[in-house]
């Protein structure tokens, strides 16, 4: 397989911009109309999601080893779309037709064969993982809204009780669909370590114009049934076998996966009496969006291993630390000798990683989710909405 040819041809196709997903979806819906039901009624938010991610993953098939666990998670996650295994060939055929259309004469039999082979590898990883999970978990989970607490002007905290246990690790995300916005799935991170009663806590940041977040606040009620997908994500998850000291940097509801990790470490420490040191920075535009202030202040006062710092960016009268949370975290030097995890909007993550790198943090020590590099990850707008890292 000529991987360089895959990368070159994808770069060439990508120069056609929005025309690429438009052709792809036209082709997919014309050749396989039954796939239309997998996508939202309004396609505007879907545009650059599937085909962009597909092109990137397939053309980077030489780095497959690194993304296999993530592709497996996505394969399991995709079971929430009905009969999804049947649709992999349809999606593959339309991907190839799209490439053929935009590459013209550059779409040679050799290039075509390489793309087909690379797509086959990716699809096989995902389908196999999905099939293996069929024995143990449902395709998607129904969960009851136990409570909905408007924590501030912009933040709501949802408690959900899945009817069947939904396995996840602290730091992962799950896709959520609410009844009033069918097929508009958004990824949210549980803010808790797995609980005995199986309930999940999600933090929803209101995004002006966000189709899902505004509906969560306006239409979702206690007792409603929502749907959840299988857990995905590996960058904000602690490794199985080591517990490095941590610097956690969160913007807005990007705090959720960080809180889950802190809960996990607190529980482990209760059992073993030992564990890493943790310094958590939480940044918000306005002070009222430091919505876990009380809980985290109390934890910091009680637990010598845990430090908590708040930073407010848009309120000049704020008496505490002001500025961007990434700058504050970088200036603190707390990244030295620690693993750093970053979660927030795309802009926040980009800025924070840049600030830490400029301050001297070794690149391999800074972790954040890159959902946009893999299949069907949320778009930048949805990251903003979900408050998870891009």
């Amino acid at each position: 397989m000529d991987v360089q040819a895959l990368k070159d041809t994808w770069a060439e196709v990508a120069t056609s911009g929005d025309e690429v997903p438009h052709f792809f979806y036209s082709h997919l819906f014309l050749s396989h109309p039954e796939t239309r039901d997998l996508f939202p009624v309004s396609m505007s938010s879907q545009r650059d999601k599937l085909v962009g991610a597909l092109g990137r993953v397939v053309s980077n098939v030489d780095q497959l080893e690194e993304v296999v666990p993530y592709l497996q998670q996505l394969g399991r996650d995709h079971r929430r779309f009905d009969a999804v295994a049947d649709h992999y060939p349809a999606v593959g055929a339309s991907l190839l037709a799209t490439l053929a259309h935009f590459l013209g004469p550059a779409w040679t039999p050799a290039v075509a064969a390489d793309w087909a082979a690379a797509y086959g590898v990716i699809a096989t990883v995902m389908v196999e993982a999905a099939e293996e999970s069929e024995a143990t978990t449902p395709a998607s989970w129904t969960a009851e809204v136990v409570s909905l607490d408007r924590r501030s002007l912009d933040v709501a905290v949802l408690q959900l009780r899945p009817t069947e246990r939904l396995p996840f690790r602290p730091g992962q995300s799950v896709a959520l669909e609410i009844p009033s916005r069918p097929r508009l799935w958004r990824y949210y991170s549980p803010a808790n370590a797995p609980r005995r009663d199986g309930t999940l806590e999600l933090h929803v940041q209101l995004v002006p114009g966000g189709q899902v977040s505004t509906s969560v606040l306006r239409t979702l009620r206690t007792g409603d049934a929502v749907r959840l997908g299988a857990a995905v994500g590996d960058q904000l998850v602690l490794p199985e076998d080591e517990r490095p000291d941590l610097l956690l940097v969160a913007g807005g509801t990007g705090l959720a996966p960080m809180r889950a990790v802190v809960e996990q470490l607190a529980a482990e420490r209760r059992d073993s009496g030992d564990g890493p040191r943790v310094h958590l920075f939480h940044g918000a535009r306005m002070p009222w969006n430091l919505y876990e202030h009380d809980l985290l202040q109390r934890l910091a006062a009680d637990q010598p291993w845990f430090e908590y710092s708040e930073v407010v960016s848009d309120d000049p009268s704020h008496p505490g630390a002001r500025g961007l949370v990434g700058d504050a975290a970088a200036a603190s030097g707390a990244w030295q000798g620690r693993t750093t995890m970053v979660c927030g909007t795309e802009a926040m993550v980009e800025h924070t990683v840049g600030a830490l790198t400029a301050a001297g943090a070794p690149p391999g020590t800074v972790r954040y989710e890159q959902f946009t590099t893999v299949l069907s990850g949320p778009t930048a707008d949805e990251h903003r909405e979900a408050g998870v890292a891009p």
Binding site: S26, S31, V41, A97, H101
Partner: protein, 133 residues
């Protein structure tokens, strides 16, 4: 499905828009060396008129198709699955260029998908193919 007050036909711009898309579509298929031979000696203007009427009917427009039944019209052309797929790609390109909305394309696809079995005759196991029951 929510109540539909505006037909897809009106939504995309009615007769003139459909005529443009149909013209663009036939420009593409007749320029394709793998498809051109299907159109040799065919009265393209008549074909376009029939196609526009068919599209109008499928999309809830004011006029209805009055040509031959699709299976009959394509029966002697020996159309392969590959040729049908190429036509789908040309239609996708035409609709992409025209900026047609995805939900309209989805409904057109639903109508088109149902015609494959009537149109493709040169396929293993297709009605009329050698060896088919």
């Amino acid at each position: 499905m929510t109540e539909q007050t505006v037909s897809d036909y009106d939504l995309v711009g009615g007769g003139p828009a459909v005529a443009r898309v149909v013209d663009g579509f036939y420009e593409r298929v007749t320029a394709d060396p793998d498809l051109a031979h299907y159109f040799e000696g065919v009265d393209l203007n008549r074909l376009k008129r029939h196609q526009a009427l068919l599209v109008s009917q499928v999309m809830g427009g004011p006029t209805a198709y009055d040509g031959r039944e699709l299976g009959v019209a394509h029966a002697r052309l020996g159309i392969t699955d590959e040729a049908f797929d190429r036509v789908v790609a040309h239609l996708a390109a035409t609709l992409q260029e025209a900026g047609a909305p995805a939900d309209v394309i989805g409904r057109v696809g639903g109508a088109l998908g149902g015609t494959r079995s009537a149109i493709v005759t040169d396929a293993p196991g297709a009605p009329g193919a050698p060896g088919a029951p």
